[in-house]
Symmetry: C2
Subunit: 142 residues, 2 copies
Amino acid sequence: MSLSTARPDPLTVEVEDLIGTVVARYYEEYERAAARHALTGPQARILALLTPAPLPMRQIARALKCEPSNVTGMIDRLVARGLVERRLDQDDRRVKLAAATERGAAISRHLRESLDFARVPLAGLTDAERLTLRDLLRRMLA
Amino acid sequence: MSLSTARPDPLTVEVEDLIGTVVARYYEEYERAAARHALTGPQARILALLTPAPLPMRQIARALKCEPSNVTGMIDRLVARGLVERRLDQDDRRVKLAAATERGAAISRHLRESLDFARVPLAGLTDAERLTLRDLLRRMLA
DNA sequence: TATTGTTATACTCTATAACTATA
DNA sequence: TATAGTTATAGAGTATAACAATA
């Protein structure tokens, strides 16, 4: 009997469902937090991506796992709201860099701070428990 | 200093990031699995919702956390593909029930079985570790 | 009157294909 | 010729507002 077709035990199913609930809550909270700043999820993700440093359109597409043609419109909308600006790359004149403006970066930082989903529930765990959780998640993602 | 504005410790930040990675991977895998059956994410979620039992349009909207007006079109597309059918509720003639067809339910079950994201990495943990993970997740979600 | 589902409309995100300007 | 970004287009999901049928 192969592993992938074996009927999972009840404990594994329960953990799977718990992870599904975590995922659903995380997404909801992220969308809600973004909406408080009149941003869509993808817009908030782009802003978070550009806050450390400007990025070529191409790399934004790769990070968002979408086609480069879609990035044009998304950046257009952020530019129209003064949250992002386009810059030319001196080394390769085909490249356009998207850079968060002061206001865009400020909103992005504020948004990140307001994302309490993980922080608040985690505060209910002891240091030792957080350490255990970290190790288990690390092994799951390895 | 209030809890919500306190700078979180490095361990909490790391666990937050790990959870973010879990969420991203889970979503990607779900979309990919749905796409293998030519379904979008919301379509797959509706089909999963209807596989145990038919549901009124209104309840589908609540489960998906979207406006009821959107459910009409999504069900239309599933009906057009023979995966869902509309039924009348005998008790309240305003209500329309969406029911998964035999084929729709079969696809939904097959899709669920192919969702290996959680099952495979979880297989690398011992029973005791899965138990610990379950308890920590339960407390986070409580 | 209130509720269920629908229609109409507009916006955002998505992929595909064709185009431009640079390399 | 290959690559970066864009435009054009079509489909899907989303919210808002107005409507018909039923309660």
